[in-house]
Symmetry: none
């Protein structure tokens, strides 16, 4: 309840003031609460930041699960498309989220807690892709490679879009190219289709 409001206020603050400019006061004011509440609920500033990262990761995970659940018995190819769509969903495109992601990456190298979370997320993306590719590409080696490349393509496209001037257009084009890349992979190596 209040925790979630504070997490959302944290993302908003990072969007509005940047990671450096985000203080306990900017967060609590955006949440319409007192500054003391953050230490009370999260133990400190560090705590609410980590909680916000966890929230982003969870949104990504839940986004894919929801998509899969809504489709009935999706094919492997459909699942791959869903992975892409999830990573380029409106939520992941939103200013507050993109700015936060970038900041978190920068912090991750010096915060073991964030680093661990980041590693889990990174591996999950690749593993999700590999799972589906394996059903389409016979050679496990080739499937793993396809997953690895697709993961990089998704992250790279997302990164370049986030940092581009015309984000909306760029995100749209990125999603298209990622999907095309997946088809390219299957076309080349696929033998099980």
């Amino acid at each position: 309840m209040r925790k979630l409001q504070l997490i959302e206020a944290t993302l908003k603050s990072i969007e509005a003031h940047g990671f450096q400019g985000t203080t306990i006061v900017t967060i609590s004011r955006l949440a319409g609460m007192s500054s003391g509440i953050i230490s009370h609920y999260f133990g400190g500033k560090q705590g609410v930041i980590e909680a916000a990262v966890r929230h982003l990761l969870d949104q990504l995970k839940q986004g894919l699960l929801t998509r899969i659940a809504q489709a009935e018995n999706p094919s492997a190819l459909e699942r791959l498309m869903m992975v892409v769509e999830t990573n380029f969903s409106g939520f992941q495109r939103s200013s507050s989220v993109t700015t936060a992601w970038l900041s978190f990456w920068g912090q991750a190298t010096h915060d073991v807690g964030l680093a661990r979370l980041q590693a889990v997320n990174s591996k999950r993306l690749e593993s999700n892709l590999r799972f589906s590719f394996r059903q389409l590409i016979e050679d496990p080696q080739k499937a793993a490679e396809a997953a690895r490349m697709t993961a990089a393509m998704i992250d790279g496209m997302w990164l370049r879009s986030t940092l581009s001037a015309d984000k909306d257009r760029s995100f749209k084009e990125s999603e298209r190219l990622c999907k095309e890349f997946i088809h390219m992979q299957i076309h080349r190596f696929g033998s099980l289709v």
Copy 2:
């Protein structure tokens, strides 16, 4: 001379203490100089940070130019390989540089100076790739797309390697896969070879 030493100290400090933990004191101490020297040479902390980014961008630019100059009359394909090699060179893999890059990306969204530098760099990579792809792929649309995808692949692979546990292995594999991806593109669309 002294300016370069301070820039290198800045990168070292970001590696050692993180972007947030980097202060004028950590930088000047690593450079073996007084704290006042930074304001004297760069006008302030902001100044030395921007100078450090410019330095990284310049290293990337010079790295490619040097590579091209050393080869005599490199083919378009060779040039593409050189772009990849430059982005995965030892310098770009070094801890101080990778941590700095990540931090800079995080800052770029709230610092117009850094944002501009980042935009220039991003466009240069894509434009370098497009230039070479155009000599190998007849359809300019396809060549542009190949450049765009390759740029994302390079950035994504670099990002994932930087954040991975076994960076060395990951960087090596990343370079291989990026090159393979270029070949894949030319194999599919190439008609001018």
Copy 3:
């Protein structure tokens, strides 16, 4: 409450360390509070300085009002004496106040905020005097001149006393001479008495 304590500490600090030697630390220490409190209450050092000036001006204004209120239906001449007495009252003679006034004058030429406050105060003294002189001197031109000269006499006497070695004696003598000067004026031009 706390604001007033800080203002008094500011005056004490200027007395003890001079205007230049007065820092946020000397003020807060004299007030027995933390240094951060000044930014919290006054927005910064500049703020507490301006508040202190306002306080001095207010004391001067209230000093006269109180004096007038205590007397019942004072005559114009009595009011003129009260103006003099107020400007040479114990408060205005106190070290912390005299040092502060001198410093403020020095600052006023380069601080628009202080300059405005100083102008208000200067005009109030002259206008108070003019009001009473008009009831004693028929010619308004002469009354205005008397006010102007008396204001200068008061400021000049106060200034010279403040900077003199034997302040106490000098202030006493100054008050006497200022009053004598007023009588001199009325004796010369007065026609309404």
Copy 4:
């Protein structure tokens, strides 16, 4: 030579940047010299400030002496007028000088060196006036009082003019009123004319 240039630069700097904003760099830049030169010639910042005060006092002293020398055998009344004229001369009205005077007064209470210089100057003005008044007013007590009041009137008028919005007009009027005040004194007490 160089010393004088630095003193003039000091006054210019106080005019341009205020007393607080005046640094060794602003002074030396205005003098077109290096920053080190000040320590070399005056031993430090404090030194050049004191030298500047001495310069102002000297200008005031010399101003009167020159005026007296130019007139041949001036009468006591003429000498009194000259004292007033000297204190309201163009030099004493100039921005760089007025700002400096005010700053010096503020400093004098916490700098024994400046305090001594200020005392000398203050006494000289009164003593100059007393010398002439004694030739016009028989009662030495009355003559001393006239000198004391005139000195205060001059300082007060100068102070109020310096701090007023329309300095030029105010200085002119001040000079007139000070002279009128002197005549008023002689008219009242004078018996030797």
